[in-house]
């Protein structure tokens, strides 16, 4: 059930719907694809109502469903040829097959393909018609690292070609790597939106996390880091996070000096999309 979803996607950019399972990502895509009819609200796909989409509009849109939509009894190459036959101006099939590494399993029965192979084939089916808009529902699900880099590179190229790409993911890492613009969804509505940079920079107020390792176990003095969160991750590994000021760094360094500790490693990171996501989820959970 969706209520309060406000999303738009542009040409030449990757728009990600990010959220946990059941947040309404797939339902949102299905309404935009014309597979489900919403009870209310307005959806425009290339200026038209997707529910009443004719063949011409459908030819401009490529869809990769979460469950793939591939007939198990078929074989990759014949299936791709068949899907390509529905379009007037399909993509170069050989190029697509080579690009996605489908030639390695072109005549294996689809029911015997691995998850990553099926995902690559489903992506090829979505792209074979030379679409202007592509919907990818969980494109990275079940991908091995090699398939993942092939798929991610291709999505980047499609963006350069000027396609509008709308994808869903529950992996923050994917959104951070792929997306130009992110909508965070929760319980059927959008709760935050922006570019990855905006979302991570927005009111972070100087949030940083410092992690360091010490050669021996330490007792973190509570008073020293009054406004910061100091935790022992495991003996010898510590995390200090919060709105760090330059002065906090000096205090930390002085404490190391007083204790005569020379850390074996120090890293400092700013807010990740994960922190934004957890902030929002946490806030709504409370």
């Amino acid at each position: 059930m969706l209520n309060g979803v406000d999303i738009s996607a542009r040409k030449g950019s990757v728009t990600a719907l990010l959220g946990a399972n059941g947040a309404g990502k797939t339902t949102t895509l299905e309404c935009a694809q014309g597979l489900q009819r919403p009870d209310g609200g307005v959806i425009r796909l290339l200026g038209e109502d997707p529910w009443h989409a004719g063949a011409h509009l459908r030819s401009r849109v490529g869809v990769m469903l979460q469950e793939g939509g591939l007939p198990p009894s078929s074989r990759p190459l014949p299936l791709l040829r068949h899907v390509a036959g529905m379009y007037g101006n399909p993509r170069d099939l050989d190029g697509l097959v080579t690009r996605l590494g489908i030639d390695a399993f072109a005549s294996t029965g689809i029911r015997r393909l691995s998850g990553g192979q099926k995902q690559r084939l489903a992506l090829a089916c979505a792209l074979v018609g030379n679409p202007e808009v592509v919907f990818l529902d969980e494109p990275s699900a079940g991908l091995d690292p090699q398939s993942r880099s092939i798929v991610f590179d291709l999505i980047g190229e499609l963006r350069e070609e000027g396609l509008a790409i709308i994808l869903t993911t529950h992996l923050l890492d994917d959104a951070q790597k792929l997306a130009d613009y992110v909508y965070i969804m929760e319980a059927g509505h959008t709760v935050a939106q922006g570019t990855v940079a905006e979302l991570t920079a927005h009111d972070d107020g100087g949030f940083r996390e410092i992690r360091f390792e010490a050669p021996q176990q330490l007792v973190l003095p509570e008073t020293l880091f009054g406004h910061l969160l100091a935790v022992e991750l495991k003996p010898g590994r510590y995390s200090i996070s919060g709105n760090l000021t330059p002065n906090d760094l000096a205090v930390l360094a002085r404490w190391w000096a007083d204790c005569e500790i020379l850390p074996t490693s120090i890293t400092m990171t700013s807010r990740s999309l994960e922190d934004v996501f957890l902030d929002i989820s946490g806030r709504n959970a409370r």
């Binding site: 459908r58 869809v63 036959g85 529905m86």
Partner: protein, 246 residues
């Protein structure tokens, strides 16, 4: 960025559906092997003696009706049920083919497989001495159209409302029950008088009787034609109303 023409899309989908059915082992057994077996069985046993023609002449129309049932209802129903489970219907409906094109493609696929079945059964029958009434060939073809349409719509109705495993069970079971007691290969007159009125309104009996009247006597069974048309219309409306794409 553009779509192939509607005719091209439907033709391609029909060809694809037919090729998929004819490549599938179980479907071939149902579509070709079992009807051939039934044909031979009816020729070597005396069950059809006394029905106004030679054994083979009375047997062939029933076997043709059986073919239509196996392809349009059971075979098509099972493949559609599993396509629905795997999201194939949903995916194809997002391509230029669309929902309507998908259905037309399935109907065409059934027609193509039926043509292959008729060629195989017809050849085997001619070798076995089948001599149909030539004036009945056209009426038989006319009757096959609403007959196949009715069974296709019924198959879609089952596939679009039940789980694929249930569709598999229901369509196979009905195929056997109708083949034996549905007036298809065995004329309904063989059955107990009490059940005959019920059996004779079934599409199976209408198709079987109608084809026998056409091919054995060269006559047109108008009530059977009307009954099949009514079944096709009602089943299509029901399928449109209740078919679930996912």
């Amino acid at each position: 960025m553009s779509a192939a023409s509607l005719g091209t899309r439907v033709l391609r989908q029909g060809g694809y559906e037919a090729a998929t059915m004819l490549r599938n082992g179980e479907q071939l057994v149902l579509a070709i092997a079992l009807p051939l077996l039934v044909l031979f069985g009816l020729v070597v046993t005396p069950v059809l003696d006394g029905f106004g023609g030679s054994r083979i002449d009375v047997a062939v129309p029933g076997v043709v009706a059986l073919c239509a049932m196996s392809t349009a209802f059971t075979g098509q129903g099972i493949s559609t049920g599993f396509d629905r489970r795997y999201g194939v219907l949903r995916f194809l409906s997002t391509t230029p083919l669309g929902r309507a094109g998908l259905i037309f493609g399935k109907v065409l696929g059934v027609g193509l497989v039926l043509a292959v079945q008729l060629a195989v059964i017809g050849t085997a029958a001619l070798v076995l001495g089948w001599r149909p009434d030539p004036s009945g060939l056209l009426p038989a073809l006319v009757l096959l159209i609403p007959g196949a349409a009715a069974f296709t719509a019924l198959g879609l109705l089952v596939a679009g409302t039940l789980r694929p495993e249930a569709t598999l069970a229901v369509t196979n079971l009905l195929w056997i029950l109708l083949a034996v007691g549905g007036g298809v290969v065995l004329p309904a007159d063989i059955l107990p008088a009490a059940v005959q009125p019920f059996i004779k309104v079934l599409p199976s009996a209408a198709l079987g009787e109608g084809l026998r009247d056409a091919l054995v006597q060269g006559s047109i069974n108008l009530p059977a034609l009307l009954l099949l048309t009514a079944w096709a219309a009602v089943a299509s409306l029901a399928a449109i109303r209740w078919f679930k794409w996912s």
